[in-house]
Point group: C3
Chain length 285, copies 3
């Protein structure tokens, strides 16, 4: 897969947090601003397999927008695609900022733009996606990304990573996926393992945007993680090595590797794993 031609690289996406441009509001709060562009892109998703994607900022998944609870957020959305789109955020916000057809700015036509502005709440790991119909296709084509709201007090220092679980319906039959991936490219982290340090806290912001299939799943080998569903509380609810998520669900996985070496992570839905949703952690001292 030609990452340069694709214009993005899953290894970079893993730890790429976009904090936006910061300034202050009149009442002294932090204001964060981003420009997000929708565009139609041909992406090589497997050697020789080109997928006509719809993207935010030219990548799948879109940029990881990150802020702190209480910040004021302003997202300048520009639709450079040939199809109508929106940005709908999971998070609290007024109805007119919801990014769905018929409310506020509503559907943004090709060449159009709008501004979504709201307060960052609640803290947790969230997501955004286009909400234009047919919704299944606008999801399946690649229009989703991660939205992290940090708690004011922060979280303990960690090697922080984002993993967006998704798929590609390369036949466009609207009935399932022929390829599965985390962060854009099937099997990528098999070839380029995720490098982590022995004993260090690893924090994964895990999001499921998979279209068509009823659930997705995350399993790690040889290790266990604390799981924080939606990341909205500072205490974990579960200590496990396998979780499932429906579309739109997300959570934080925190783990430390006790031994060096290579450890698989993959969907424990074997079909997804064998069609691309698998990778390795490589643990070194």
């Amino acid at each position: 897969v030609d990452h340069e031609a694709n214009g993005f690289h899953p290894t970079d996406i893993l730890r790429d947090f976009d904090y936006g441009r910061t300034s202050r509001t009149e009442d002294g709060r932090v204001l964060r601003e981003w420009d997000v562009y929708a565009s139609d892109e041909e992406i090589e998703v497997a050697p020789g397999v080109k997928y006509p994607a719809w993207t935010f900022n030219g990548r799948i998944p879109g940029p990881t927008l990150r802020c702190t609870e209480g910040d004021r957020l302003r997202v300048h959305f520009h639709n450079g695609s040939e199809h109508p789109h929106t940005m709908h955020f999971h998070g609290m916000h007024p109805a007119e900022m919801d990014g769905i057809p018929g409310l506020g700015a509503g559907t943004i036509e090709p060449g159009g733009s709008t501004v979504y502005e709201f307060d960052a709440e609640p803290f947790g790991v969230h997501l955004y996606h286009c909400h234009v119909g047919p919704l299944a296709e606008h999801m399946a084509r690649g229009l989703y990304g991660t939205f992290i709201v940090d708690p004011k007090q922060g979280r303990p220092a960690a090697d922080e990573q984002v993993m967006v679980m998704h798929g590609f319906n390369t036949t466009f039959d609207g009935e399932g996926n022929q390829l599965y991936a985390v962060n854009g490219i099937p099997f990528h982290y098999m070839h380029e393992p995720v490098r982590v340090k022995l004993g260090e806290l690893v924090r994964i912001y895990l999001i499921n945007t998979l279209e068509y299939d009823p659930i997705n799943s995350f399993h790690v080998h040889g290790n266990f993680f604390d799981y924080y569903p939606t990341g909205t509380r500072l205490e974990p609810t579960e200590f496990t090595d396998t979780i499932i998520q429906g579309q739109g669900q997300r959570g934080i996985c925190e783990m430390r590797f006790k031994y060096p070496g290579k450890y698989m992570f993959h969907a424990h839905k074997t079909e997804f794993a064998e069609l691309g949703w698998m990778g390795f952690f490589e643990v070194t001292e």
Copy 2:
């Protein structure tokens, strides 16, 4: 859709709690009694689409039976359908009151009747449904309803609502659903939004009775809710905007809207949403 011809209206079902007829048992406890009738009904589920349903009390979902833990419950079940049926309750009860073929009164033939009698426990949000085989068809045809057992101390005052998530297999192929709904009619709350007050506590008793599909899902826009799985504890386990439920699972969602306006709620399984499982809250001061 002609709600009058159907004989029930989803807007009414939402807040329709049936506490039964109350009296006292010899030992001074509250005795609640209900009459529930099974019947075969043709229901208009989409404009011009008639579905040959099997119902409890002529509606889909059946009546929301509500009581308090420790009450004595007596359900007089009358089978006015042309098919054999039972009422099986999720809840604690002796085996002979379980409402399944071969135990206690067993299968209730057309024209027959029986009485199910047991104590109300544990508190939480539960369900009842017919348990005659083929079970998939007796579920899919519409034979389910909500069973709420309130804790003795009650719950905080709220705008209380019931949402039963289900579907219609209009082709009768036994392989899936062509329409999805909450409280009987696909897309109903798109046309008649659920009206709620700004800042008021909204408590949704959410039940999944969907047949054929492995999971269902509930997502609310622009807001988050506390989630109480099965409603059997007074502390929530999760603060989120998206949950999944397998068939027979249920829980309580508590939320307050901070801003006025219209907010979608729908399955975050886009297929279900686009085939009817979507609606609006309309928030006013």
Copy 3:
């Protein structure tokens, strides 16, 4: 079904815990050793229906390996099958003991053997399975079993049982299951109910190894259970009568029956129930 010809009996598997051969390590810890054999076996899964299974120790599910946290574990694995296999444990262990192709001993060819050795952690209910590709087939053929790590302080005395939920793809189309079961034989506990004592604590180690389907589910009639996901904590997270598990998920269900009689337990996915995943508890004084 001819259990003797099959060589295993689901009623026995239910309460059959294999603690291995114990001795002491040089530093005084408990060392547990097991021999596990992979073999190809024809199993009668329904009257007259023979399934060409791949098994651990000649049974489906494989032996329930049980130990205490902190024990040293040594599993002598012998591949007597005509296909290559491994044993991959869910649990913490060094990469070279992970039981996957390409790491440590890697794939064990027919006639080959290896030793997996690691410390028992964390406490909880886990599983093991073959990890050779095509992974879906090596799961579907029957190569899985339960791995229980007891907490040092133990758990309260109970009638302990293991239930492994799985299926049989008797058409070998790789697209789903035609039969569903718990502990090897569809409908078995309908004919031979699980006998339990009134009022006694029943503890079920519940594991989902079902291939092809996205989730599995467990429901009990007339009763509720405390649920401990993955069994890694001593406090339950939920009190319910219905849970779902993706493949590789597992947990502990604790319940007491208050009334005598027969109570169904089954997947609340009706397809699975009607194709074999149902049974009875029989509660006596």
